[in-house]
Amino acid sequence: MRNAYIVTAVRTPGGKSARGNFKDTRPEDLLSFIVNAAVEKTPNIEKKDIEDLAIGCAFPEAEQGINIGRIGAQMAGFPDYVSGFTINRLCSSGLEAIAGATLRVRAGWSEIVIAGGVESMTMVPMAGNLPRPHPEYTKINAALWGAMGTTAETVAIRYNISRHAQDEFAYNSQMKASEALKKKLYKELVPTPATKYVLQGDGSYKKETVIIDYDDGIRPETTIEGLAKLRPVFAAGGSVTAGNSSQTTDAAGAAVIMSEDKVKELGIKPIAKVKCYTTVGCRADEMGVGPKYAIPKLMKLAGIDLKEVGLFEINEAFASQAIYCINELGIDMAKVNIHGGAIALGHPLGATGAKLCATLLSNMKEKGVKYGVESMCIGGGMGAAALFELCE
């Protein structure tokens, strides 16, 4: 198969769900903005050159419903013939979109495709607006629909991840992110318009737009002592707290995938290529361990040793599962989530795959790292992982 490249990868800032910067911003707006930004940041292309939009979304209903991939394309002003679709594998949806779009281009079926992800966790709650677990199958395996935090507790108990270790991990995530925010290291972040309903003197609201250029979940004032005081959320006497869990977040991310022929024709300098992508299942009640299985499988498929990988973006759904996976695989913590992870920056479900890709590629470029791995755990008991190779 021919080569395909990621030529642009960008993301919106993350806004804390329900309270943060994008709580009043529709997901379609976040999506259409970020795909337009991706086009604008790519030299020598226009909207008319895009063939299709592949958009990951974990709960594609209500505000994110019908087919947000197509709606996003239309709202972004792409010509009618630019198609779009929505893809769902919960937390790896954005990465799934990028992997799938890459394959489509490599197969020669497309020249330029935008792949990305979007999630407004404010507007569409986790598990969706109308969760309806199968009333007979729940008698056998209710964990398939269970709360994610409960699985994090299970991982902590089953694999002895202490409260202190989780809090320390969370603290480090916050500190790395605080540092990156201060030093303006999030090169992949595009300042994004947010809708605000501003209360007027007469009690009515007026809709206004403001530009947001930072992730609002970062808390530089975090201390380990402060984290230690938080109460467990999911279990009496448990260890998983709001402080050592990922934040629920509204955000979007997008990447432009281009064939080698097109890259040459347009004279574009690509960033990286998706070298390999894989997924694997595990027990639903400990879904957080997914990366532990997905990353070795990926390495084996790609024929690359884990030691050759210079940077990792391993999604911090919960400190307990992230610690477990990193330790089990013997990954050097210094290479992981160097600008902080979801505990500080948020985990916008279907957008996370595209968001982490943008961050990883930006960091690989910055550090001149040849191989980078992105991985995450997935509800229902799965892991996904992708290997990126930096272009020279």
Binding site: N129, L130, P131, R132, P133, H134, P135, E136, Y137, T138, K139, A142, A143, W145, G146, A147, T150, E153, T154, F234, A235, A236, G237, G238, D285
Partner: protein, 797 residues
């Protein structure tokens, strides 16, 4: 003038001020809470509004954090706005009632009132919550118009829970203002009103504190121990279980010390002024900061044994060391235990002659004499003194009722023999051949009036109906050992339960059936109500336990069917049925209310379906009717509603045995619907329920048409499974809880039925019964029932 209180202001955000603000806001009135700017601010802090409001902010915080809660529902806190006396004083100009609750210092109060006079709007009422400072000194030098609208309004702590409200007119206070505040206090704030004179500590605390300190002095004289006094002067004589010393620990010894000293100084003419002097050991305790519960050491102290068990120790007043103490063993207490009524208990104890009884006799006799000597000094009537002690000190009987209970003639003879000086007014009454302070004739209560030397009818607000009086006046139309049907007039009848804790059993159910039939024949409507300590603690589980052990399942099913039929019968009766619950309304008691057409409830309502605590499911239509209460609020025009949003709160209320902390909370949980009405004064409840029945009849009552009920169906059960998994994994539910919860979900969602479908009500009733019987076959349910019967507490197994 048509006076209204739109906005109230409370100045002072301490325990009392905060409590008053919380009550007024809970009654739905906008309240401005003010306190001083802290004295010790730096120049920088002085510019910061947050720092300036620090004291009042902390006061509001304490209101919101208080346990038991002072505010009835957390959203009522929205009605309280805060400020400080420097920046926000002008806001008092818009207030209709200004309550002063600042430190007990005459100069500070006078300065404050002088300032208030300048800003208050004409006609605004100003009151002081003082207990020690004469009103006349506080208002001295202020304008006539101010004095006409100035009065003492004295609440008791904790404000929300204590019924007594003493209202004290100043010399110039307008009668119209007195009348208005009495009505307002009674109707809107739900209090029991006593009009007091402007004398030190008014009525409640004057009598109450004398009683308390005299009891302490007598203890030392008679050589009793602290825990012995508490055992003797508690429920045995109709007073709270905290009796003397536990109450002091609760109040704080420093406060007791302050009150005693303050009263001693003010009551210079008291014939027994010394009875306000604390025994010396208590002053030593105050010096040593052994101040009671807030200091974690007072007359009692709880300690932990090496094996981590909590034990209570009591101080030995000779050594001031804490010691273990046994349960006091007085023969008189054993006699009291045998007595059924309070008068019998009192007689059993005051006329016995062991050491304990002799002490009780002296303590009570001193109190009776002191009370009689206070008329007309602090009050003109015995009624106001008795009410003050019942409402402000939770005595079951006031001094004069107590006196009647032990026999006035007999006790006076004993007093004389023991060297007591009998009050002249009592002597005179006995000499005139009158030997009781109260009498009841034709259901009317009369009390003896010392001034006119004759009986006067005790007239209460026309809103108050007393079932006891009606029964005394031959208004009982149907009677049994467990319940009565009482004629409330105008064709309305009241079905009153009177079992222990008003527990429901099959006899009560039979009576409800009979009452419904009677009203159908002879009446226009029915009130389900009573006037005891609790509305109903739920079904009596003794017969259930016995039936289960003997595996008499068909008999149990019959009992369940009987109560379900009664609940359905009342729901579909051709006349209105209004339930009037108050206080504890649990399990079966709650189910009976949920089945009524409407509820008129007291603001203090602790309602819940708590059956899961004994391993059971509400099976008197509770699952059906709570669900119905939730879904019946959906207008027919609304289709395709997500029933999960309705199902889960209803389901969780049962699965977590949620009990409301107030009527407002019961409404928030969903036990009360939009047509159910909250009444603040408990004495009004039966009257208001009767009014509701009459109103419904007047509006043209037709019974509801029985139609199929909207149910969530099977989809609920998948959701329940997942929710239960989450809760179980989180250690919030035991395995047995999970088992019970899943079945409860099955019942409430209509069993094996299509999602978002409709079903006959009887199907859910049948599912309730089947689940109940199946639960009784579980060992762990039996263990829960046994544990509850043995300990009175639920078992988590």
């Amino acid at each position: 003038m048509n006076r209204k209180i739109r906005t109230a202001a409370v100045i002072g955000s301490g325990v009392m001020g905060g409590g008053i603000a919380a009550l007024v806001a809970s009654a739905g009135i906008k309240t401005l809470l003010l306190d001083i700017v802290p004295f010790d601010l730096t120049d920088e802090q002085k510019k910061n509004p947050k720092e300036r409001n620090k004291i009042v902010t902390a006061g509001l915080d304490n209101i919101l954090k208080s346990r038991p809660p002072l505010i009835m529902h957390k959203k009522d806190a929205d009605l309280i706005s805060i400020g400080n006396l420097e920046d926000d004083f002008e806001k008092l100009a818009s207030c209709d009632w200004i309550v002063e609750v600042v430190v007990e210092n005459l100069k500070i109060k006078r300065d404050l009132f002088a300032k208030i006079e300048k800003v208050r709007k004409k006609g605004a009422i100003v009151s002081s919550n003082t207990s020690g400072i004469p009103l006349k000194s506080m208002s001295e030098g202020l304008s006539d118009e101010f004095k006409q609208h100035f009065l003492g309004i004295h609440f008791f702590n904790p404000v929300r829970y204590m019924k007594l409200l003493e209202i004290i007119p100043g010399k110039e206070t307008l009668p119209e203002v007195m009348k208005f505040m009495s009505d307002f206090g009674e109707k809107i704030l739900g209090k029991g009103i006593v009009t007091a004179k402007d004398t030190p500590n008014f009525i409640g605390n004057r009598i109450g504190v004398q009683c308390m300190i005299k009891a302490m002095q007598l203890m030392v004289e008679e050589g009793l121990m602290i825990h012995e006094v508490d055992a003797l002067l508690g429920p045995a004589v109709g007073r709270p279980a905290t009796a003397i010393f536990k109450t002091s620990d609760l109040i704080g010894l420093d406060t007791v010390g302050h009150v005693s000293k303050n009263t001693y100084e003010l009551v210079v003419d008291d014939e027994v002024r010394d009875s306000f002097l604390l025994p010396e050991f208590i002053n030593k305790m105050i010096e040593k900061k052994l101040l009671g519960n807030k200091a974690k050491a007072g007359f009692y102290k709880s300690e932990k044994t090496p094996d981590n068990k909590k034990i209570s120790k009591v101080i030995n007043y000779n050594t001031l060391e804490y010691e273990d103490y046994p349960k006091p063993d007085f023969t008189c207490l054993a006699e009291v235990k045998k007595a059924k009524t309070l008068p019998d208990k009192l007689k059993a104890i005051v006329y016995a002659d062991d050491k304990g009884a002799k002490y009780v006799w002296k303590a009570i006799a001193h109190g009776l004499v002191y009370a009689a000597n206070r008329i007309p000094e602090i009050s003109d009537t015995i009624i106001d003194i008795d009410n003050s002690m019942k409402w402000g000190y939770n005595y079951e009987m006031g001094p004069f009722e107590t006196w009647d209970a032990i026999g006035v003639q007999k006790s006076v003879e004993k007093m004389e023999a023991d060297g007591f000086k009998i009050p002249a007014n009592v002597k005179e009454m006995l000499a005139a051949g009158i030997s009781s302070f109260y009498k009841t004739e034709k259901g009317k209560i009369y009390y003896y009036d010392f001034a006119s030397k004759g009986y006067i009818e005790y007239v209460v607000s026309s809103n108050i109906i007393s079932l006891a009086q009606l029964k005394g006046n031959n208004k009982t139309v149907k009677d049994s050992k467990v319940a009565s049907l009482i004629d409330l007039g105008d064709g309305v009848f009241c079905c009153e339960f009177h079992t222990k804790m008003n527990a429901l059993n099959n006899d009560v159910t039979d009576f409800i059936h009979a009452a419904l039939e009677y009203v159908d024949e002879n009446g226009a409507g029915l009130v389900l109500g009573n006037q005891a300590g609790v509305f109903s603690a739920g079904a009596d589980i003794v017969p259930v336990s016995m039936g289960a052990k003997e595996k008499k399942y068909s008999e149990i099913e019959y009992i369940l069917k009987n109560i379900q039929n009664a609940v359905q019968k009342q729901r579909y009766a051709p006349f209105p049925v209004v339930a009037a619950p108050y206080g504890l309304t649990l399990g079966g008691g709650c189910e009976v209310c949920l089945g009524a057409d409407r509820m008129v409830v007291h603001s203090e309502l602790y309602m819940g379906l708590v059956e899961i605590g004994v391993g059971l499911i509400p099976s008197g239509g509770g699952c059906l009717n709570l669900w119905k209460k939730f879904v019946s609020s959906i207008p027919e025009a609304v289709t395709g509603v997500d029933l999960a949003k309705y199902f889960f709160p209803a389901f969780m209320a049962i699965v977590t045995a949620k009990v409301s902390t107030s009527a407002a909370d019961a409404r928030a949980i969903g036990f009360l619907g939009p047509k159910d009405r909250i009444v603040f004064n408990r004495d009004y409840l039966i009257g208001e329920a009767k009014k509701e029945v009459l109103k419904m009849i007047d509006e043209g009552y037709t019974p509801p048409v029985k139609r199929k009920l909207k149910i969530f169906g099977e989809a609920a059960q998948g959701m329940v499974d997942v929710e239960i998994l989450n809760m179980q994994k989180g250690n919030y539910l035991s395995e047995h809880d999970a088992f019970l919860a899943k079945r409860i979900g099955y019942v409430m969602s209509g069993g094996e039925a299509a999602t978002n479908s409709e079903i006959d009500e009887e199907v859910i009733l049948k599912l309730e019964r089947e689940a109940f019987i199946d639960f009784l076959k579980e060992e762990k349910t039996i263990a829960r029932i046994d544990h509850m019967l043995k300990t009175g507490k639920p078992l988590r197994n």
